[in-house]
Symmetry: C2
Subunit: 361 residues, 2 copies
């Protein structure tokens, strides 16, 4: 998608020097747009660990490109396997990281560049699939509204900067925008890390999509007053039965959507479906992160980018990173193969080959 | 309630100099605790306008004490009426401000001190009433939990610093704490102005009540996992039928409480009941405030207290200050006269004399 009028992916091989991989340093967004160069696989490891890049698909792609950089200095399989292990340690719970590394290790090192490029291109195709299928839902609302802007509420960042391009939840938005359908996006700031205010707002603004940042408390009021036509969010993990784990606060928006008859859609690449579990609330463990993300807020002032403390010195804080939205609150799942009901039947209808997976319970 | 081990009200006459009224400068909380002196009615006007003080009951009390300060220089009724008019302009929509000024103007200026003291004492009694009635609800849960801490979730600040003492939603918490019933409070930070993180956390911490600050997105997850025993919030305005306008985001917590069978209580002095309207969502206009409250966050760092910008320079933001929670989501209303159902029957049962009011619709 576009930044300052130029099209970017979130990761790419330097066209002038094929020994350098370039990424956007997302830590400084939206205040500074800096392109960062990865020259060694260790640079890639730091970029993943220190969150220059984030978002499951982009982490997988960065791991793949890091393996490519490693292959420029060694083609020894044992050495590459060892490097792969070290990359896995940068973010131990990131499923796509393991997937990216293992896919590269299954490839002849001489073909690492082509394989990394294929991983990126495939990810873009998956996003485009979600975009194409989600577009139909937006079109339908647009027609009902006789072309008045379709108001879409989103939470967190499931945008192109979390993938290689287009994004997951944002793919239908960008696709609708390219198709000339007027949309307006309500962007939840998404405390505590403010990925909405920092990254989603940046993405949409740079690509020219009308949007408004709101605090996470606002969505219910907007829906009560008919100011939201659909909710559209991403997910980190979807159970076999359609329960959806996503950034903390997603469940509250789904409740409000349900209470006000606003359709609530979740966009997901099928790789994030966990066929081994059914009940999200009881079976998905919710990570607790550092309380400092709650007690401190990062932003810019005249001195630069830094953090301020908002709580009393002695008040403890808790930081649950995700919550689970039960399938009963989800209108539909938007995948690269189409839109389905948030249920086992719905998911197996689109992905019949996954019947082979067994649930644990 | 206590600060640094000493009992304070939020406003009081200087015991050593009866020509000075003292308040807590709430703009600097929780980072600095500064007592500010009002020596003229104009000082009082500034304190209201610039939000040294906030909260409907405290604004009313500050207006009353400002009139007292005015009476030290003039007892001319016309002059005092004119001063009253000027005080009203400091926060034109504050109902209690008008009430405080009018009550003073109906008094002989020679008795202004006694009247201002009476206004404060009466407010404390109202809070204590809510505390006493809310205590019974907490006690019941405590008994069921065999004395394990009762987990209460609150939103915004309906605390003693919004009233003269004890608060509204916090009155049952302080009363339970004084009665030796163990409680723990989940404090919503309450974006955009962070009154929870700034003021509620400060209040509870200083008084020794166990609490944890959370981002506003968290409550649903906590309720799904049985970590909230009751929600307890304040209100700015309650309709005749029990719909409740309160800080933006309250509605989302009520939805989550309803979805998880967690009781959702609202504490209110009967003065905030608007007997002239029935349907909150359609009849209560929701104030939109400055977008900068969304785009910027105030906190402290090593240089002091200041604001940082969290959004892109070009992203617009919207700032709806309140939302309306329909009565169907409210388990009960805690008033100074007792607890009732959130309905016309419930409210008229406690306040039968208010049958005299007519609704507009």
């Amino acid at each position: 998608m576009k930044v300052n009028g130029t099209h970017y992916r979130s990761i790419w091989l330097d066209p002038n020097d094929h020994m350098i991989v370039q990424i956007i340093d997302q830590r400084l967004l939206p205040h500074e747009f800096i392109i960062h160069e990865l020259k060694t696989w260790q640079d890639g490891a730091v970029a993943i660990k220190d969150m220059y890049v984030r978002g499951a698909p982009l982490i997988g792609a960065t791991a793949a490109w890091s393996m490519y950089l490693a292959s420029l200095t060694t083609t020894d399989q044992a050495a590459l396997k060892d490097i792969g292990e070290q990359l896995l340690e940068t973010r131990p719970t990131a499923v796509n990281l393991r997937w990216g590394v293992e896919r590269m290790l299954a490839t002849n090192p001489a073909n690492y560049r082509a394989e990394a490029e294929a991983i990126c291109d495939e990810d873009v195709e998956i996003s485009k699939g979600m975009g194409r299928h989600g577009l139909e839902l937006i079109k339908e609302i647009s027609t009902k509204k006789k072309g008045a802007p379709v108001n879409i509420l989103t939470h967190c960042n499931a945008g192109w900067l979390a993938t290689v391009d287009w994004g997951t939840a944002t793919a239908p938005m960008y696709t609708a925008h390219e198709a000339g359908i007027p949309i307006h996006v309500w962007v939840d700031e998404t405390r505590p890390r403010n990925q909405g205010a920092h990254i989603t707002a940046f993405e949409l603004g740079q690509h020219g999509i009308p949007h408004t940042v709101i605090v996470d408390n606002t969505g219910g009021h907007l829906m009560q007053h008919g100011l939201v036509d659909m909710c559209l969010v991403g997910t980190d993990r979807t159970t076999r039965c359609g329960d959806v784990a996503n950034k903390i606060g997603t469940y509250l928006k789904a409740l409000a959507a349900n209470d006000n008859n606003v359709p609530f859609y979740v966009a997901l690449p099928s790789t994030t479906i966990d066929w081994t579990i059914r009940a999200g609330v009881s079976e998905i463990p919710i990570e607790q992160r550092d309380a400092e993300e709650v007690t401190h807020v990062r932003g810019k002032d005249e001195r630069g980018i830094h953090s301020v403390q908002i709580t009393p010195d002695d008040s403890p804080a808790a930081n649950y990173a995700f919550d689970v939205t039960p399938a009963r609150l989800v209108t539909g799942l938007i995948t690269e193969r189409g839109v389905c009901e948030a249920s086992e039947e719905g998911l197996l209808g689109l992905f019949p080959e996954d019947l082979r997976f067994e649930t644990k319970t």
